[in-house]
Subunit: 591 residues, 2 copies
């Protein structure tokens, strides 16, 4: 199948004299998760997960992905011509280095400019010698015969009782910031930025409650570009009453081409495509920087946080029921990973205001959990047995919040290594989540808090420690993150972020413990102003796999307090055997 697709692609390349064709994991909005229509990279390579880049030359086919997906990519690329290039591993060529090495000066590199960000384009351009970049070639469109349709779901307004501020409030604040930076026009492409600004949600991408849309804000106009069919009368009224004008999706380029010459145009180069920016008049002054709306969106207001807390209570209720169900069912041999996925969705669906999952559920038993982003399917899944560890990373979209949580539980006898790795992962989790940190501290610096207890024992994990989480929006939201990779963005009061260290041993087991937190003010004294985390997630952390002697006193105290808080918050919401299970699961431990 992949062989046939590569053959067709290379025929197109030969016809147009293209030496290398680049296929990104992207849509015109540079979304992380894609509607099926835009899964061109998965179509061409067979690697199905969310992050990766493919390059096809006349005699090579390469897929790049990062540490989270190495194991899965190895598996999925088996038997295809594609070779895996491991991003971030020393000595492995980057996409740009590969293109420069394989394509002769004067040679041609083709791609679909709608699915390549301005930033990626400029980075590539800078690194080439004299290779020519041609961004007008959507070859995938030509060879993908049974391509899925573009989504047509309805949009809905996220009401002020949930958002805590109106669309008009948000536009006013944005215009204030634009004015301070001398910005006349601001083109917004990131779907969650558009959704946040206009308090608008939809169902265009599974798990990502947005619609395909652009926004263009000037000093006196606020435009929304989208498929008009998605807008109900109610939504139209919501927009009109806040001063937002609606335009067809496809007109964004035309309108952009008409903004006044010599005015300034701001955009986030990471989320706007090179094809769109190419439409702006050449005498417009481009201002490129990190999204201003993104910075506004990252700081949750008190209304948003109040609802988020409630969403996590509901989510925890569903999860305790789920874990009880898993543990009861496992010994009977009928609980499969897919059954867990289905049951998780069913239990969450019973909670008020549930909409859909916030990402594809990772239900991973035993060795499957060693793949941090494993997702089971009917064709490839395990049956849970009363032995070893089971990892569940899942979340929901609720009208009042987006959840994401990982727990790893003991199903039966554990090896010493499983116990050790579980214990060290919890130490790592506590080390970061119980921390205080100075105002101005970046997520990069904080990442060290999580690695310290692991590195001391000579173990580590090959993924980030924390990501921002949206509010009825994307489960991965910037600009902040907690990661080894340098970033200078400070964690600020009101930011929501995950804390999710793990340990993975291929072919054996995997552990991850994830809670979602909000950054809160802590003490201010003569040594400075400190922040700390309030934990939103409410679900007991399994104490059974722990080597209690390896825990410090403050770690035991933190764990007991956390589990007790889960009992206090959830007991009223559970009854019968579920409540008994909660009681058992939240019992305090001691040395």
């Amino acid at each position: 199948m992949i062989r046939e697709r590569l053959k067709q692609l290379r025929e197109k390349m030969a016809l147009r004299g293209i030496d290398a064709y680049l296929v990104t994991s992207s849509d015109p909005h540079q979304s992380e998760y894609l509607a099926d229509y835009y899964k061109a990279r998965a179509f061409v390579s067979g690697f199905t997960d969310s992050q990766g880049t493919a390059v096809v030359t006349r005699d090579e086919a390469i897929l790049w992905t990062d540490g989270r997906y190495f194991i899965q990519a190895d598996f999925e690329l088996q038997g295809t011509e594609f070779k895996l290039f491991r991003q971030g591993v020393p000595g492995v060529l980057t996409v740009a280095e590969f293109l420069k090495d394989r394509v002769r000066p004067g040679g041609k590199i083709g791609f679909d400019g709608n699915c390549v960000s301005y930033q990626l384009y400029r980075d590539l351009l800078e690194k080439m010698d004299d290779q020519i970049l041609i961004g007008s070639l959507d070859f995938i469109k030509e060879i993908w015969k049974d391509r899925p349709a573009l989504p047509h779901g309805e949009a809905f307004a996220h009401q002020p009782e949930y958002t805590g501020s109106t669309v008009a409030d948000r536009i006013r604040e944005l215009r204030k910031r634009m004015g301070q930076q001398g910005i006349d026009n601001y083109i917004i492409s990131a779907l969650d930025d558009v959704a946040y600004l206009y308090c608008l949600r939809g169902r265009d991408i599974p798990c990502n409650p947005v619609i395909f849309a652009y926004a263009l804000i000037s000093r006196d106009q606020a435009l929304l570009f989208c498929d008009m069919a998605k807008l109900t009368d109610e939504v139209k009224e919501h927009l009109a009453s806040n001063g937002v004008e609606i335009r067809p999706y496809d007109e964004v380029g035309d309108i952009l081409s008409q903004i006044p010459g010599k005015s300034t145009l701001f955009f986030d180069p990471a989320s706007v495509s090179i094809a769109l920016i190419d439409r702006a008049p050449s005498n417009v002054q481009l201002i490129k920087d990190r999204s201003i709306v993104g910075a506004m969106k990252a700081i949750k207001n008190e209304t948003e946080l109040r609802h988020q807390r409630n969403a996590y209570l509901k989510d925890g209720t569903a999860l305790v029921r789920l874990f009880h169900w898993i543990e009861t069912g496992t010994p009977t041999g009928v609980v499969t990973e897919v059954a867990v996925v289905d049951k998780a969705l069913k239990l969450r669906s019973e909670q008020e205001h549930f909409i859909e999952n916030s990402f594809e559920t990772i239900a991973a038993y035993g060795a499957n959990a060693s793949m941090p982003h494993y997702a089971p399917s009917q064709n490839r899944q395990a049956v849970l047995k009363p032995k070893g560890l089971f990892l569940l990373d899942s979340g929901g979209q609720y009208l009042d919040g987006t959840t994401d949580i990982t727990r790893t539980i003991q199903l039966g006898e554990l090896t010493d290594t499983e116990k050790l790795h579980y214990t060290l992962t919890l130490k790592s989790h506590i080390s970061l989540i119980s921390a205080k940190f100075k105002v101005g501290t970046s997520g990069h610096y904080l990442d060290a808090f999580s690695r310290l207890p692991l590195w001391r024992e000579g173990v580590d994990y090959n993924h980030g420690t924390g990501h921002g989480v949206g509010y009825l929006l994307f489960v991965h939201e910037g600009p902040h993150r907690i990661a080894v990779q340098p970033n200078a963005i400070p964690l600020e009061e009101g930011m929501v972020v995950s804390v999710e260290p793990g340990l993975y041993v291929p072919d054996s087991h995997g552990v991850r413990i994830e809670n979602i937190c909000v950054v809160k003010k802590d003490i201010t004294n003569e040594f400075g102003s400190f922040l700390s985390f309030e934990i939103l997630s409410v679900c007991p952390i399994d104490t059974r796999p722990l080597l209690v002697d390896r825990l410090d006193d403050h770690e035991i105290q933190w764990l007991n307090e956390y589990n007790q808080s889960c009992y206090d918050k959830l007991a009223d919401r559970l009854s019968g055997a579920d409540l008994k299970y909660l009681e058992q699961a939240t019992k305090s431990i001691s040395r």
Copy 2:
């Protein structure tokens, strides 16, 4: 006095139409520590410590310094016209921002271009509107009548038995690296880089065993520019036999002006002055980057490390005697801070191959220790009393190594806060020094390991956590450092670095615990390759002030093992009451 100097300076400024005059803490080599001749900033402002910048306008006089010196600067600037601008405090103008704000476009900013680095000059230039920078004005020379003489000490060769490689070896390695980067000529201005490359030492700057010199390396020549009178016949032979040619110090500019056009000239923009670079022909291609010799020098070879270990043994022997002397003498009321400084020098002098102190001894009793860089003098010093804490930060230059160590000891009854701060400082110290870390980890990231236990308790220190240490060279040596300020330089095997967290409460007390370490290979396994620290410093850490209940098991174990290792290494070198003191000081503790 300061008033008179400012008056004279302003007269010079008025005569030449200068609106602002900049005085850096620098010499033509951008040294951190200065020969008396170059202490122009101290002369003009009265602030005597090693870091600071002065700007004088017609009606303002401002001194910038960083957190280490705030308290001292406040003290020393009292009664002068100078205002203190606290570097790094939010809202405080930087030097460039101040100049841009106070000098009108077209106005003139004067300075001595020999004492301003290329980098500082370019940074200033970039930030100005249309203010004019004039780098040929050494007004201080004109007004400083009793200026100290330039130093005239003799140079000496650091022999291969100590350096582990010859000058010829080092030049060969340097030329290899120059070749790889297409460098034809390399002008070296940093005094320790010259000293390292040519295995040459001297006494031109107190505590810094170097001579004033430049080096210029091309593919076929290796030149040393220095005062010929400093070179004995033995040194001349050492240089000649390694292919190094000698030129008068003042000819460096002339020779630089003669390098072939169209060739490349490499230099470290942080250490070469703008006045010198201005001498290079305009058709030479400048290549600016971090010092290549500095990168070579930072990685100590096995011979250097073997000698360093021995130097630290000698240093520890002197220190144990010193602390015994202090504790015995304190109750009699005759031990002053200056007496400790003198005694420390005397005891170090008794050790083999001792040359001089490696920096000005910080002997700080009680509240004086709250100033991290306090140095006592006959006019301002305390008498030690059997109460509270005493901090000693000191080090020596030995033929076989440079030492630097801080201990804080209990002299008598302590407050609860003193005990807590001592305990937390030790926790911070252990957290970093006992760490393993992945190959590639920067000192910025590692800094977090040290802050974590302090921040958790809402305390912090306002200085870096660690600096590189030279080998019979500067006690502060780059390019690596451990600090909150971002830097991307990874700690590598063979680098020597300090670990020195502290806690300071103005008008009350200060604690700092510092050891010097070398980065060593640690475990390599399926999780990656790890590094860790080997501690070079050998001197017991006082256990008496500790709140033992606040220590974790692994911290108690680390402390007992460290103190036991001090006993094992030093017992043979001590006798009588000194040995008894060591026995007492290294007794293990438990909860």
